[in-house]
């Protein structure tokens, strides 16, 4: 098989060379981190007062973990390590309790991230002859702009479609001869069901490759995508705390994702003890960002569960491969590529006086897409006997949820005490999506 390299020297560097790069960049990153109020405190705890206190990669384990809560509690500038005049981009993700998390990028940070993405894309065999349609949401979410920059650096013709508007996506693929797309797996399956409606035949399209990301999916889903579309689909992994997409990506062999170890240090830990698991065992993915100055990130707990392959990939790359994400250590749901914490829904429904205290969040597959239903109990004293009042209430809850969580849920009104309450902690989430 033809194995294309964006930066062969780094991608095939031996272990000792990679570790030397990691150590050098870790020291640099600790130096940057010490400029932020948050990491000054964290690193003082670990008795690290300068980059010189990092003598080997093993010293990384002295540094306390960073969590999503830390990012929230230090919003908006507690992790900012440069002067705002040196910031060229801000990305953000919605918060679990209304407080978002924010990531700043300097010009060099964007450049480093873009280069990682170019490396990812190039490793699948795309070139400047490809036409790339980005179907991920743009805006504050890193999946849109991040991949856009990477694709441009490869030299592809980039169509910045963003998410949704299925018929137009299909028509655009046909009009411009799209050969590669960036998309969530569920949306890619959904588009296929709309070809006929858009009056476009598969033969009218020249699509060859899809980069699927933003939601965990199984090998079966990949096979299904590849079969019905007759394309190659490559899995990808990333999160804004670690720049965004492009932390790990599949190469032409499609046997799980090379995690770029010159840019990130990966640890797999036991989520309960924080201790490393044995080589090859699964656990929580912890990542340190080595290539971002404006918002350094040391030992970030992703809450994603996965493992690292121990055997080499036939492509010759030395960077270890991360498995598919097998689950989460928290209650975060991923619905059509959008991260959702049940607490975000709770926050909305609980501020509506006509709603009683019990609610249920139900997720299921409708066709190929995820569908969210929020069931709430109405508060009896505020029922006036009028169905139009209830319809209006339903509409209001739907609208408030939509603006808070981006997703468009179905809202169901229920009688008080009718929703199941499990013993002890109420079980609010019913996920009926098939487990693969």
């Amino acid at each position: 098989m033809d194995v294309p390299f964006w930066n062969k020297e780094i991608e095939t560097a031996d272990r000792s060379r990679l570790e030397a790069i990691q150590l050098e960049r870790l020291r640099e990153t600790v130096g940057w981190a010490l400029k932020t109020p948050f990491y000054q405190k964290q690193l003082r705890q670990a008795k690290i007062s300068s980059a010189d206190d990092i003598r080997s990669l093993a010293d990384l384990r002295k540094i306390p973990f960073t969590t999503k809560d830390d990012l929230r509690l230090n919003f908006p500038r507690g992790l900012l390590a440069v002067d705002m005049k040196d910031v060229v981009r801000i990305h953000s993700s919605s918060g679990t309790t209304g407080i978002p998390t924010v990531i700043y990028y300097s010009k060099e940070d964007i450049d480093n991230w873009t280069d990682m993405l170019a490396r990812c894309l190039f490793s699948t065999g795309v070139t400047s002859r490809d036409v790339f349609q980005n179907m991920m949401t743009y805006g504050m979410f890193t999946g849109g702009l991040g991949m856009h920059y990477g694709a441009e650096r490869v030299g592809m013709a980039v169509i910045p479609m963003g998410g949704g508007n299925t018929k137009r996506q299909i028509k655009t693929m046909k009009d411009f001869g799209t050969t590669a797309i960036h998309v969530t797996p569920s949306y890619l399956l959904h588009i296929h069901t709309k070809l006929e409606e858009a009056e476009v035949k598969r033969e009218d399209l020249v699509l060859k490759k899809a980069f699927t990301g933003a939601e965990p999916h199984s090998e079966d889903i990949r096979k299904k995508i590849e079969r019905i579309w007759n394309i190659d689909a490559y899995n990808s992994y990333g999160l804004s705390e670690l720049n965004g997409p492009g932390v790990a990506f599949e190469c032409v062999y499609k046997n799980d994702m090379h995690l770029w170890e010159d840019g990130y240090i990966v640890e797999i830990i036991d989520p309960d003890t924080g201790e490393p698991v044995r080589d090859g065992d699964s656990g929580e993915v912890v990542l340190t960002n080595l290539i971002r100055r404006a918002t350094p990130m040391l030992r970030y707990r992703t809450r994603d569960l996965a493992y690292l392959h121990t055997d080499p990939c036939p492509c010759g790359r030395t960077h270890r491969r991360l498995s598919r994400i097998m689950g989460r250590t928290d209650d975060m749901l991923i619905i059509n590529g959008i991260n959702l914490f049940p607490s975000q829904i709770e926050e909305v429904v609980m501020r509506i006086p006509e709603v009683a205290t019990n609610y249920i969040i139900q997720v299921e597959k409708r066709g190929d897409l995820d569908h969210l239903t929020v069931k709430v109990e109405i508060y009896p004293k505020l029922f006036l006997g009028d169905p139009s009042q209830l319809e209006a209430l339903k509409g209001r809850i739907t609208e408030e949820l939509r603006s808070a969580i981006i997703l468009h849920p179905t809202v169901e009104l229920h009688e008080p005490n009718s929703l199941p309450v499990s013993e002890g902690k109420a079980k609010r989430v019913i996920d009926l999506r098939p487990k693969e």
């Binding site: 109405i378 009896p380 029922f383 006036l384 006997g385 009028d386 169905p387 209830l390 319809e391 339903k394 169901e412 009104l413 229920h414 009688e415 008080p416 005490n417 009718s418």
Partner: protein, 143 residues
């Protein structure tokens, strides 16, 4: 003369209407008139019963979401144009009807209809002025 209608919120669940009716039946309450306003995911049952105070107490005690609304019941000639005749009175006098429905039974040759007006007080006054026969609470209880 105003009557009391009971509205009951019904979620879309099998047997829920039966639950209401059997509860009222066991308590010895007779339903005189009934209609269901339904939406995709829930319904509102509207009833006029012989013992409305007892009915609302019983329903609430059994955790039904229920509320009271003022309505007016009117006898309408059970013949072609009977309903139109009464609606003309409303139209001529700017009385807005929000909704209406029929009784299960009747106590003369006339049909019995329940009306919910936008402004109940004004509607009853106009009905009295025009000499339209409205059903009294006593009549409902003894029907």
């Amino acid at each position: 003369m105003k009557l009391t209608q009971i509205s009951v919120f019904l979620e879309n669940r099998k047997g829920r209407l039966y639950d209401v009716c059997s509860l009222l039946g066991k308590t010895g309450i007779n339903i005189r008139a009934l209609t269901i306003a339904e939406t995709e995911t829930f319904g509102v049952l509207r009833i006029v019963v012989d013992k409305s105070d007892l009915a609302i107490q019983t329903l609430r005690k059994n955790n039904f979401v229920a509320n009271l609304t003022d309505v007016v019941a009117i006898e309408v000639g059970d013949k072609p144009g009977g309903l139109a005749e009464i609606l003309k009175v409303f139209a001529d006098n700017d009385v807005n009807v929000e909704y209406m429905y029929g009784f299960v039974e009747k106590f003369s040759d006339n049909a019995l209809l329940v009306f919910r007006f936008e402004d109940t007080d004004n509607a009853t006054k106009i009905l009295a002025d025009k000499g339209v026969k409205v059903v009294t609470r006593k009549e409902i209880e003894g029907l």
